[in-house]
């Protein structure tokens, strides 16, 4: 393998974005120059070398395939939650209601609501994977956006599951997504926001389950 072939292969597999990408390639070129026409394969396989760099710079994002277990886990958890809550036989009926306020478990609803977070997560990964190859000095923003995208769609799923209102769920999820995105740089605020959100949801659910009443 010639020097140029080695570099071409290396660049093809290097996922690190600019400006670091340019620095890595320049540094490798100087090393190849120092080798004085020795076979560059003494450096190992270019793909393997690029992988090592990707790992050093992108951390867990260096190979999106490694993160595929995460949406699978989310999906499994959600599926178990749906059927678990349904078959547990909790009655969500209020006084005077004649039909149980159980989730509307049609095949379309279940597939739609469980696949959205997974799709969102995969889209997020795809965005990260693509952007890491292009000039992007602050990849953290995109990572955060992908995570928020996943979280926002999860809220959509939860809202739809417990309220059955698709448009309302989309709206609240969007509000959540935009709101949190605006304060994305302040971790404690995000944590507080999420805790507050879950706290309010919990109160509502407790009220509906009649385990705790907020009405006098």
């Amino acid at each position: 393998m010639t020097r140029d072939e080695f570099l071409k292969q290396f660049e093809k597999h290097l996922m690190v974005g600019e400006p670091k990408r340019g620095e890595i390639i320049a540094e490798l070129k100087t090393h190849l120059d120092d080798l004085n026409n020795k076979n560059p394969s003494t450096l190992g396989e270019p793909k393997q070398l690029a992988k090592q760099y990707n790992q050093a710079h992108l951390g867990i994002f260096y190979d999106p395939r490694r993160l595929l277990w995460a949406p699978a886990l989310i999906w499994l958890t959600m599926l178990l939650s749906i059927f678990g809550s349904y078959y547990a036989g909790f009655s969500l009926m209020r006084d005077g209601e004649t039909t149980p306020a159980r989730p509307d478990l049609t095949v379309t609803n279940v597939l739609f609501t469980t696949l959205i977070p997974v799709a969102a997560f995969l889209i997020g990964l795809l965005i990260i994977h693509s952007l890491s190859r292009f000039e992007n000095s602050n990849k953290m923003i995109w990572k955060m956006a992908a995570i928020l995208f996943g979280v926002g769609s999860t809220f959509f799923f939860l809202n739809l599951l417990f309220t059955g209102m698709a448009y309302g769920s989309i709206f609240t999820s969007l509000i959540f997504f935009i709101g949190v995105s605006m304060i994305a740089n302040v971790k404690p605020v995000i944590i507080l926001f999420i805790l507050l959100w879950f706290g309010l949801k919990l109160l509502r659910w407790l009220d509906r389950y009649k385990l705790f009443s907020t009405h006098s």
């Binding site: 100087t30 120092d34 710079h57």
Partner: protein, 118 residues
């Protein structure tokens, strides 16, 4: 010496080498090779990403400098600009800590395999 025995101590070796003097990647690999009599030969596939990892952790600092191949120093055959790495203050502290750990480790192993010497 068995290379396996030195696995996991690559960071200590790199930090120790850079504590002696700032070096670029190729010079560093040659330096380590010479000093350790090829007992622990770094592949560049391991060395450079490790340097970048250490830089990310702010243990070392890399800077592009003109490099003419200092006389008597292992390093580049050619001149030109090279990315030269040096130890940061945090790197010095980490090195001191890793040295202590290494000393404890070798003392423990010594006392176990050579109880009469210990």
């Amino acid at each position: 010496m068995n290379k396996e025995a030195l696995k996991g101590h690559s960071e200590l070796i790199i930090l120790s080498a850079l504590a002696k003097q700032p070096m670029h990647g190729y010079a560093l690999s040659e330096y380590i090779k010479d000093e350790m009599a090829e007992a622990f030969k770094f592949g560049v596939g391991m060395l450079y990403p490790l340097l970048h990892k250490l830089e990310k952790e702010k243990l070392i600092h890399g800077e592009w400098q003109s490099w003419g191949g200092v006389s008597g120093q292992t390093g580049s055959a050619s001149g030109g600009s090279r990315r030269v790495y040096s130890l940061t203050r945090k790197g010095q502290k980490t090195l001191a800590s890793k040295k202590r750990d290494w000393a404890r480790f070798t003392a423990t192993i010594n006392s176990f395999v050579n109880p009469s010497i210990a």
